[in-house]
Every structure is written in C-alpha cells, then in structure tokens.
Symmetry: C2
Subunit: 355 residues, 2 copies
C-alpha cells in the first residue's frame, strides 16, 4: 500500500527527548515499512525514518527562533502532501484540524488520527467534517459525534523499555511530561512533599509555559527532595521511569492518551493517575496502578501501589499497547477505508489534471 | 459569470466603521451583481450585500470574546467555499495565504488579491504557490516573484464622498486609520504639536494594540489640540476628512494600498504621506499632496499643500480610483484567467465525485 504519513513539524520524528505524537508516528511509520508498505513521511527535515522523508523545513520548529508563524509551515506541508495526493492510496494525517478542509478535495482518502482534544472553536470544524474517517486514540476521546473507524491505542516497542524488577534505593516517585499546568507537575510536587517522598521530574518546557515553570515549579526544586532533570533522552527516560517506585500521572485535563503511563508500566513501574480522559482505559486499576478521584486519593494509594506486581505491568503493556497491536489496528483501518471507497467509486486514483 | 467572493471574517462586509479589505470587497461584490454576474459572498453573517451571502458565523469576529482561534473559522469558510467549487466559474479570495494550499485542488480557478504584505514566513508559502494567479493592489506590493495578472487599485464610490470645497475653520489636520504603530498616529501627533496645528484622529483600536494606544497615544489626547473621535461611521469619516485642511498619512511600513488617501482626496483634501509602499503611486506628488522622505519634511510641506486644488484632488480619484475602474480591472482579470484555463483544459467544470 502507498501511504503518506503526515506528522506535525513542531518536533522531529522520532523526538530526541519527549514528544508523544511524533514518537507514535515514528513507530507506526517504521513498522509499516517493515511490513512492506511504501511509506512517505512528511515531517521536519531532521527526522529519522525507514520511510522516504519529505520535508518543507530542515529542522524541528519548536525551538527555531526565526519562525513567527507556525501555520505557514503547516500549510506548506499540506501543499506538499496534497499536490501529490494521487501518488498515495491513503493519506494518514496526525496534524489535526488543519488537514480537514483540504482532505475532501482529492480522491485519495485521508484518515485523521485525533491526537488532541476538542475546543469550542475546533469542534465546529470537526462537526462540519464529521463524515471524514477518524481514528480515536481512546474511547474517552470520542466527545464529538464523528465517523470513527476505530480506537487505535498508541503502542510502544517493548524492546526499547527494560523491565527493572526492583526500584532504586532510596525510592522515589517519577513525573514525566511537559511542565505545563494541565500535566500537573505542581500536584506531583505537592503529593511528594506532603508524604515525605522524593520526586524526580523530567520533561520539556514550552516557551509559552516558561512563566508557569518559573513561578510554580522552579522555586520548589531543591535538587534533594524535588529534582528536575530537564529534558531527557530515551535511555534517561527509561532509567527515570524504571528505577522509580511509582510514577505519578496527576493530569487535570482530559488527556486523550498519555503515553507516559504505558512507558512506565513497560519498565515495570505502576502508575497512579487522576481519573481524567483515557486514564481509566490505560491503567488497569488495582493491577498496574490506580485511577484516583483526587490528589489526596493519589497520595493515599501510594502504599498499596508499591505492592503491585511489576512483571505484570510489563506483560499488560505487551498485550495491549505494543507497536504490533497499534500497527495491526491502523492496517485494518486502512483496509476498511479503501474497501468502502472502492465500493463507492469503483476506483482509487484520480486522473491528473494540469493547471 | 458565477463568482465566489471570499472575504475575511474579522469584520463585516461592508465594515460599519473602518475596515479596508471588507470595504473593497463590498464595493466589488455589489458592482459585479449590478453588472449581471451571479455572485456569492462568503463573509460574516451580519454582512450586507446585493450578492447571495453565505456565512459560517453570524457576526464579525473582531470583537467576539468567545472566539479563541480565528483560524478555525477561516478553515470553516474555506471548507464551505471549496466543497461547492464546481458551482463557480471563478473563486476570488481576499483572505490571503490561508487559501493557497486548498485552491489548486479544484478545477475552478482561484484568483488571489493580495491585500497584505509579505513576511519571511508567508513568503515561503507564496513562493511555493507562485504560479497561482494573483492581483496586486499596487506595483509597490510586488516584492515577490509571483504570477501577477495585473495591478488593480482599490476603488471607491465617489457618490459616497462629498467634495468639501473649503476646509472648516479653525483648520485642522486629519488622521484616519487603525491606531497601531505602523500607521503612525504617534507621528501625526508629533507633527501637529510641533507646528501648532489641531489634529483630529479616528480609527479602531485592535485588542492587541490597546497597550500601544494607552501608552503612546492616550496621554497626548487633550481634546483641544489633539482629539480622538473613536471609531467613526462612513458619514463621520467623510466629514472628518472633507472638513480637514490636510490629511496626514505618516505610515512607517510598506502599506500595499492605503484607502484613506483616496477617501481623503475624494472629499477634496490633499494628503501628505510618507514615501512607503504604495504612497507614491496613490498621491500625485505636487498635485494632490506630497510624498515625503521624513516626518520633518511632512511638517515642512504643510503650507504648500494648503495651496493645492481641492477639486483636482477629487477629479484625480474619479479618474484613477473609482469602483468602476476597479471592477473593470477585476472583470478583465477574470476573463483573462478563464480564457487561459479553457485553452489549457478544454472545459471549466469538474464532474462531481461523491465520497
């Protein structure tokens, strides 16, 4: 199958440190290539992939000071993808609403994975385009009535996550994620401080969230009880999560997936999360962690969570959140979509028109 | 001819007070209808037009506090336009770069009027789409190498601008425009104060420019020598400009057109402008005003400008910047484009494809 994968340009694929969507796109793309598909990855020019890479800009845009208007580059990317739409059987967009207006204008079908959440503004656009084919990354994410082909959970490659059977001594709690208010690093700190636990935190700080970090987080980092490791690369991440006694996932927004939870469980470390978004679908409550209703409950569950079986946490991820399962899900969705299109139009490709 | 006019949604068409692009779109649209074309205007739902109106949002978005993300509504509008592209002979976009990626995907040609200026970001997108058909609104605006069909100057309806043969006593200078740094209201104030002139200013204050206004402009308004009238409607505008001895146009950016200059000249009031962007194309230097190299020179030219022939100013606008001439220019551009498409493809419409 000829497949276009359209990634955000903000971060490279795969991301050098943290970056959820780009990691998923990387795993999906490379596995599709391994399975024999002809894949073109549209992503930042510094991306690393088994697929053919097409880039409108040489580097990840996140930290490029020259960029004033990200939307321009997204439109450049969309131009690049859709002007060669007839070359693909399927276009798979990971960039969200920006692809909605353009996708229905070519005969090659576009499948949209919803990686984000809905706002009162973007809901209007999704509603208008509700008949386009969507993939949800959790059932919790389905807050609008759209044409969902299926839920495909994000998957990770277990080989990249070592099981660490016993946590490091002295024990600590881990927090990994962007240091933004909705990810809840401030609550992780409060839980640790109130219960005499050490906390190690890692994750990136977006420019727009620098003020939050300086005001709410930085003053609490004493590099003894509360540590901030900055952005970490993959190996450091596995070490941070795997050596932890427990990982905290104290989000206060309806996070549609939460890759950190499965990464933590893959290393054997149970997760205590807030009951928001996908959390109850991702954590097996009482087996691989706890789904809590309040920050107090999160703190209260720590002793019980320490007793959970770390090997089981890893098995659980292997059975439910592996790259294999994710790519199986996407391949099935592609097939399903193409079959329905063939039934409708009798052909896949549009003839080329020159302007 | 079946024509879609695609207006920005920020302001209604025509704008109740100030608003350059929307005023041009209004005049163009209504005149095309009068000439027998079948025109659909895509614009905010409170727009007033002789054409058929299609709207994705009931009001102008400029002051709507509920709107967090303008780009969503622009995409809604583009979805609405392009899903019915086959209904039109020509799509005429006034919304800038947002239409570039989508326009080449349908057989109906889109013509883009460039109302803004180029940035280092959006230049890349225009460059990629340089073969699409563009209209420049001044020759000065042609800073990128694009497929310009022609320059069509903005035009106004002379009937709506009364010639005021003698300025009001005591005399004053006029400034009309958004109160933003690049429009130069601060320089208008300085010129007036340093030379003992009264100055009457009017124009809107965008939310993002409120701070500039409060810091640089508000403290200088004494309502005697320096007056700010707020936003003015059309009649108030004609009165403000027509009763003025002179209008100042102290811009410090390459404004691609500058409607205020022709509105002022239409009422008989000469304009002293800075040599930026279209200013030397719009002011007839020494006849309808002066094109200056510095703010000092602007001030120095006041006595000479007071001697200019006010009736001639109006005649000049009538001969060069009327709605009639503007619509003649656009009709010619539409014809030119359709002829070239027919030559290339042999037909205009694409068959409908159902998905």
């Amino acid at each position: 199958m000829k497949i276009a994968q359209v990634a955000p340009l903000w971060e490279r694929v795969p991301p050098p440190t943290y970056g959820g969507i780009e990691l998923v796109v990387s795993r999906l793309t490379d596995e599709l290539v391994r399975r024999g598909h002809e894949v073109t990855l549209f992503a930042s020019g510094d991306s690393q992939t088994l697929a053919r890479l097409e880039a409108v800009y040489p580097r990840a845009m996140r930290l490029d000071q020259e960029i004033q208007d990200y939307s321009v580059y997204e439109m450049l990317e969309l131009s690049q993808v859709y002007e060669q739409a007839a070359e693909f059987d399927i276009i798979h967009s990971h960039i969200g609403m920006a692809a909605l207006a353009i996708a229905p204008l070519v005969k090659t079908p576009t499948i949209h994975t919803l990686h984000g959440s809905f706002s009162s503004d973007n809901s209007k656009l999704y509603h208008l385009h509700q008949k386009q084919p969507y993939i949800s990354i959790s059932n919790a994410q389905r807050q609008l009535n759209l044409n969902y082909l299926r839920t495909v959970y994000n998957g990770i490659d277990l080989e990249n996550y070592t099981l660490l059977a016993t946590p490091q001594e002295p024990p600590y709690l881990a927090f990994l994620g962007r240091l933004s208010p909705e990810k809840g690093p401030q609550h992780a700190i409060a839980i640790a401080k109130q219960n005499g636990w050490r906390l190690k935190m890692a994750g990136k700080i977006n420019i727009s969230e620098r003020q939050f970090f300086e005001r709410e987080i930085a003053p609490q980092i004493d590099s003894k009880q509360i540590e901030y490791l900055g952005e970490v690369n993959h190996l450091e991440k596995v070490e941070l999560l795997g050596n932890a006694a427990l990982t905290l996932f104290p989000i206060n927004w309806p996070e549609p997936f939460g890759l950190v939870m499965i990464e933590s469980m893959a290393t054997g470390t149970p997760v205590i999360g807030m009951n928001n978004g996908s959390v109850p679908e991702v954590i097996s409550h009482g087996k691989t962690g706890f789904v809590c209703q309040s920050y107090e409950e999160m703190a209260a569950m720590i002793p019980e969570a320490l007793e959970l079986n770390r090997s089981y946490c890893r098995e659980y991820v292997k059975n439910k959140f592996s790259v294999t399962q994710m790519v199986d899900g996407y391949e099935a969705a592609y097939q399903q979509l193409l079959q329905s299109r063939i039934a409708l139009n009798g052909h896949l490709y549009s003839p080329k028109v020159s302007f």
